[in-house]
C-alpha cells in the first residue's frame, strides 16, 4: 500500500509505518514509556528526513499517552500540582530545544548530538534498569524480599530555595526541582522526538523521591502536554510535521498501546522492566556502534 507523504516528499509503504506505530505503541502500553525512542531512529532508517521523523514522532507519543493518562486520572494517579510544574518546565524546555535544534542544525552537528544523546541516555538508563530488575528477580527467587528502599529526594533537591507542599506526591520540596526536570525532558523531546518518559520516571522516583503510586500517571500527564507543545513548536518553526505520516503512526500506536496495556496487566512488573531494559540497552548499543562504524552515507545534503 503506497502512501505519499506530502511533507517528507516521498512515497512509503503505509503498512510498514502502521506496523512501526503498532510496535512502539505496544511498548508504550506495556511499559508506560512513549516509544518515541524507537520511532524516530526507525523512521530515519526507513528514509524519512530526520527533522520530519522527529516532528511527526512527537504527535504519535501524544496519541499513545492519551488513553494511559485518562486511565491514571480516573484512578487518581496524577499529582496535578506536580504535573503542572513539570509541564511548565517542559514547555520552556521545548522553546529552548527549538533554539538548540536550529543552532545545531546550522552547525551541521544535529545528528551527532542526537546520536550521542541516545547512546548516553539509553545506555545509562537501560543499564540501571537492567541492574535493578535483575536484583529484584534474584531476590524473588531466593524468597527474601529486598529491603524496602527509603524514599528520599536527592540532597541537591533539598538545597534549592523556596518550598511547596505537593500533597499527592507526599513531598515538601522546592518547585524549582521539577521545573528543571521538566525543562530537561522538554529539550530532549524537541531534539530527539521522544516523550522522555524513560528519563522522567526514574528521575521522579530517585531524584525527587515521589510516591510510586503517582509517578507513572504524572509522567504520562507531563508527556502528553509536552509532546503537544513539541508538535506545535515544530509546526511553527521547522514546519516538518507530516500529518499523513503522523496519522499512519497514530493508527498503529493507539491500537498497539491498548493491546500492550492488556499484556502488562498479566505480566510481572520486574520481568517487564527487564525486557524494557534489554530493548533500551540494545538500541543504545546499536547507536554506539553506528557512531564508530563507517556510516553508509558520508555525505548529507541540507537545503541552504
Amino acid at each position: 500500500m503506497d502512501v505519499y507523504l506530502p511533507i517528507a516528499n516521498l512515497a512509503v509503504n503505509g503498512l510498514v509505518i502502521v506496523g512501526l506505530g503498532a510496535l512502539t505503541g505496544l511498548l508504550s502500553g506495556m511499559f508506560g514509556v512513549g516509544g518515541g525512542f524507537l520511532t524516530t531512529p526507525l523512521l530515519i532508517f526507513y528514509g524519512v528526513p530526520p527533522t520530519v521523523a522527529a516532528a511527526s514522532a512527537a504527535s504519535q507519543v501524544t496519541g499513545a499517552s492519551v488513553s494511559g493518562a485518562f486511565a491514571h486520572a480516573r484512578r487518581g494517579g496524577i499529582d496535578y500540582q506536580m504535573g503542572g510544574v513539570l509541564v511548565a518546565g517542559g514547555i520552556l524546555g521545548t522553546g529552548i530545544g527549538a533554539l538548540l535544534f536550529r543552532l545545531l542544525q546550522s552547525l551541521g552537528q544535529i545528528d551527532t548530538v542526537i546520536n550521542v544523546l541516545y547512546v548516553l541516555l539509553l545506555g545509562g538508563i537501560g543499564g540501571l534498569m537492567a541492574h535493578e530488575s535483575v536484583t529484584a528477580l534474584r531476590a524473588q527467587r531466593r524468597g527474601t524480599p529486598l529491603p524496602a528502599r527509603k524514599r528520599r529526594h536527592h540532597p541537591l533537591v533539598a538545597s534549592l530555595p523556596l518550598r511547596w507542599r505537593f500533597y499527592r506526591s507526599g513531598l515538601y520540596i522546592s518547585p524549582l526541582a521539577p521545573l528543571l526536570l521538566g525543562m530537561a525532558t522538554g529539550v530532549l523531546t524537541m531534539l530527539m522526538g521522544i516523550g522522555g518518559g524513560f528519563i522522567l520516571v526514574p528521575a521522579m522516583l530517585y531524584i525527587l523521591g515521589m510516591g510510586a503510586s503517582v509517578v507513572v500517571g504524572t509522567s504520562l500527564f507531563q508527556i502528553l502536554f509536552v509532546t503537544m507543545a513539541t508538535t506545535m513548536m515544530h509546526a511553527l518553526t521547522t514546519r516538518a510535521v507530516d500529518i499523513v505520516l503522523a496519522s499512519l503512526l497514530l493508527l498503529g500506536s493507539v491500537s498497539g498501546a491498548q493491546i500492550g496495556a492488556q499484556f502488562a496487566q498479566k505480566a510481572k512488573p520486574e520481568q517487564l522492566r527487564l525486557i524494557l531494559a534489554v530493548i533500551v540497552f540494545g538500541v543504545a548499543v546499536r547507536m554506539a556502534l553506528g557512531l564508530g562504524y563507517r556510516p553508509d552515507e558520508i555525505y548529507t545534503v541540507v537545503p541552504l
Binding site: 516528499n9 504527535s59 501524544t62 552537528q109 491500537s255 498501546a257 491498548q258 545534503v301 537545503p303
Partner: protein, 252 residues
C-alpha cells in the same frame, strides 16, 4: 503558412546551414501531478530528427537528452572519523545544485563528444555545474562534487545512462527516464541535443511541470503558511485518536 514554410526552407538553404538537421522533441506528459499514491513517474521523451529538406537525418548523428529539475542552494556535509566517532567534519556550499538530473544518450558520452564540449553543454554527471560558494580548492571541490553525485545517484535523483536513447528508422528517437517519488516540485527542462562529428548541430527544449495537487497540495501549503492551525489540527488529531482507541478497546 505554406509561404512561410517555403521561406524558412529557402532561407535555411541560403544560409548555408543546409546540412543542419531540425529537432522536433516531445514528451509523454507535460504535467506530473503529485497526489496520493504517487510513487514516481516514468517519462517518455521522444521526437524526430529531420534534415531541412524533410528527409531522414539520423545517419551519423547521436542524441543526448538532459532532464534537469529545479536547482537549489545546498550545504553538502562530509563525515569524517574524529576521536573514534563519525561526525560532520567538513562542508561546502553549492549555489545551484539541481534537485534532479538525468542524462540519456545513444552511446557513451565520451565517444560522442570531446570533454571540452561536454563540459560546456553539461553533458554528463561529470560536468555538472554546481557553482560552489566561496573559495574552494579544486581537488576538494572535485571530492565534494563526486560525493554529491554518488549520493544523488543512489537515490535515483541523478542518472546517467548510455545507450538509453533508442533510434528507429533514422528519424525517430526515444528514451525513458524514471522520476522517483522523492522528486521536488517545480519546472523540469528536457534539453535534447543532436551531435554529429563531435559538434552539437541542433538542440531543443521542452518542459515538464511537477506539482502537488489536491490533498497533498493543501497539506503542503497549510504546513508552510498556517503553522498554527496546522499544528493545532495535528495535536487534536493525535489526542482524538488516542482517546477514541481507549474508548473502543474499553468496549471489547
Amino acid at each position: 503558412m505554406i509561404a512561410r514554410a517555403l521561406f524558412l526552407a529557402a532561407s535555411l538553404l541560403l544560409l548555408g546551414g543546409a546540412r543542419e538537421p531540425v529537432l522536433v522533441p516531445e514528451i509523454s506528459q507535460h504535467e506530473i501531478q503529485v497526489r496520493q499514491g504517487f510513487t514516481g513517474a516514468d517519462l517518455l521523451l521522444f521526437g524526430a530528427i529531420l534534415s531541412p529538406e524533410g528527409t531522414r537525418a539520423m545517419q551519423g548523428t547521436d542524441i543526448v537528452i538532459v532532464l534537469e529539475g529545479p536547482a537549489r542552494s545546498i550545504v553538502l556535509r562530509e563525515k569524517q572519523k574524529v576521536a573514534g566517532i563519525w561526525i560532520n567534519a567538513d562542508s561546502t556550499e553549492f549555489r545551484s545544485a539541481p534537485t534532479f538530473f538525468a542524462v540519456a544518450s545513444t552511446r557513451p558520452i565520451d565517444r560522442i563528444i570531446d570533454d571540452k564540449t561536454a563540459a560546456i553543454y553539461e553533458l554528463g554527471l561529470k560536468w555538472l555545474q554546481l557553482s560552489p560558494i566561496g573559495v574552494i580548492d579544486p581537488a576538494e571541490q572535485r571530492r565534494f562534487s563526486a560525493g554529491l553525485v554518488d549520493l544523488m545517484q543512489r537515490q535515483g535523483l541523478y542518472q546517467q545512462s548510455d545507450f538509453a536513447v533508442h533510434t528507429s528508422g533514422d528519424v525517430l528517437y526515444q528514451a525513458r527516464i524514471a522520476l522517483p517519488s522523492s522528486v521536488q516540485t517545480g519546472t523540469y527542462t528536457a534539453e535534447t541535443f543532436a551531435i554529429r562529428n563531435g559538434r552539437v548541430v541542433a538542440s531543443a527544449i521542452t518542459r515538464v511541470e511537477v506539482r502537488k495537487e489536491g490533498f497533498e497540495r493543501f497539506v503542503a501549503l497549510n504546513a508552510e503558511n498556517n503553522g498554527l492551525i496546522y499544528g493545532l489540527f495535528a495535536v487534536l488529531l493525535s489526542v482524538g485518536m488516542g482517546w477514541l482507541a481507549g474508548r473502543l478497546f474499553a468496549l471489547v
